[in-house]
Subunit: 147 residues, 4 copies
């Protein structure tokens, strides 16, 4: 059987390849996908600004939610978000480079809790996100490929 680290990387690559929303529409980069952890990055573009001329909070959430998805699917068990909460701590502006790093805090039975932190290029915390996951049927990679 494939080692957990190698499997997470392979699962991350496969999931990202099919994730039109994160890859093409939002233009995120997947920097790493390890067992129970992931890191993603995204630059704030003009089209992401809201009526207050700051980055729409929805896209900060979306970056965190994508990173959460990679962290919680990293063991090749199909997993979805059942809910999440976010605290917005600093606004993000056009051109800012946001990095989200997230880690599994708890996985018990089918349910997990994952914490994501979004920081800007100066290292300031922009948002903190907590996601709750639920495993569903199936795997990201076919069982044959995961061996």
């Amino acid at each position: 059987m494939m080692e957990a680290r190698q499997l997470a990387q392979k699962v991350g690559a496969a999931l990202f390849a099919g994730d039109r929303a994160s890859k093409d529409f939002m233009r995120m980069e997947l920097l790493s996908c390890e067992p129970g952890r992931a890191v993603m990055r995204m630059q704030v573009r003009q089209e992401m600004l809201n009526g207050h001329r700051i980055c729409h909070g929805g896209f900060i959430f979306t970056l965190a939610d994508s990173t959460f998805a990679f962290a919680c699917n990293s063991r090749n068990v199909s997993t979805v978000a059942s809910g999440a909460s976010i605290e917005f701590l600093k606004p993000a502006h056009e051109g800012d480079v946001l990095t989200c790093e997230g880690v599994e805090q708890m996985l018990q039975g089918r349910h997990g809790v994952y914490d994501m932190k979004v920081t800007n290029q100066s290292g300031e915390t922009v948002a903190m996100f907590r996601g709750k996951s639920a495993q569903i049927k199936g795997s990201v990679l076919p069982q044959g490929e995961a061996q």
Copy 2:
């Protein structure tokens, strides 16, 4: 002084006109903006699908977060989100038309609580969102225009 209902409509229109993220990038429609309430609509497009081929939860959040912004700015006091939580109840698929309706539950001092419900074209609840708002300095419309 302008009547509250008319002011909310005018504030909504001005905020929406400058909200590149909601209007142009996400292609939402603002269906109504009343004092403490708003309704928006968005169709799920192919570019919004994630690696599981369902609508990325981040965009469902973004629809709710935009609607929340219109509801909490509707009294012409500049207001931002300090945090939010969301429960994902049903997946949304390509072509689904999502409507978000939201209402102020509480406004005490500078802080408010707003509840948003996202439903699909069959009337099923896709997500429930609770946002916390904080008033900041300034107004959406210049004071002269709001009179």
Copy 3:
């Protein structure tokens, strides 16, 4: 079959009779239990004060959590809380009489969302609580008694 309203009342009475924590330890009163709704009341006593000499937030949460339990068990399907969030809006002081009123916002399949509002004797909002419920096996009243 018993009418929903009458059943909720009977379920509430039975659940409250066995709820040592709410009835005896916290000394709450159950003012009403209807289908998907409940109202409870509790006075802040000296033993509930924390190191800042205000009511411990945990007991405000506990009042809301109890009211939530009555609202979500009111249809005689055994239901537990999977999670909750609370916003603390005003402190409560010794002697304050807190009333919590809560209502079902959504019930889809086994999962529900319930909103509770805690107010003081002056009608000010002390806290807002949102609970997520999950139905489990069994009923509060034996099936025979519920008919």
Copy 4:
């Protein structure tokens, strides 16, 4: 000036001595109070059981909320909870010994985020709690005593 570690311990002791709710009513023990961290313990007694004969979720929250209070007041700046969320992962039963350990995740300006984990005597996670703090005026220990 007193070293941070020593100050946290002194603040914890002073706050606990005046915290009737945690000490006398709930009978919690304060196991440690360090800068941005705290650990507390509580045994589930019969009077804490609800109508389902398990520990009332409100008291699990209360244990976490107390631990959060010690962690966020540990630097001797008076701090209160503005809100919190909790996920209930396993029921707690009569006689169970619950330990809550919590740590500061973020402190920026007046606002902080603290994560608490409640485990039982078998090391199973009973609940996860995230608290949001807001600093207010004043200090726990008079300035003179803190030097």
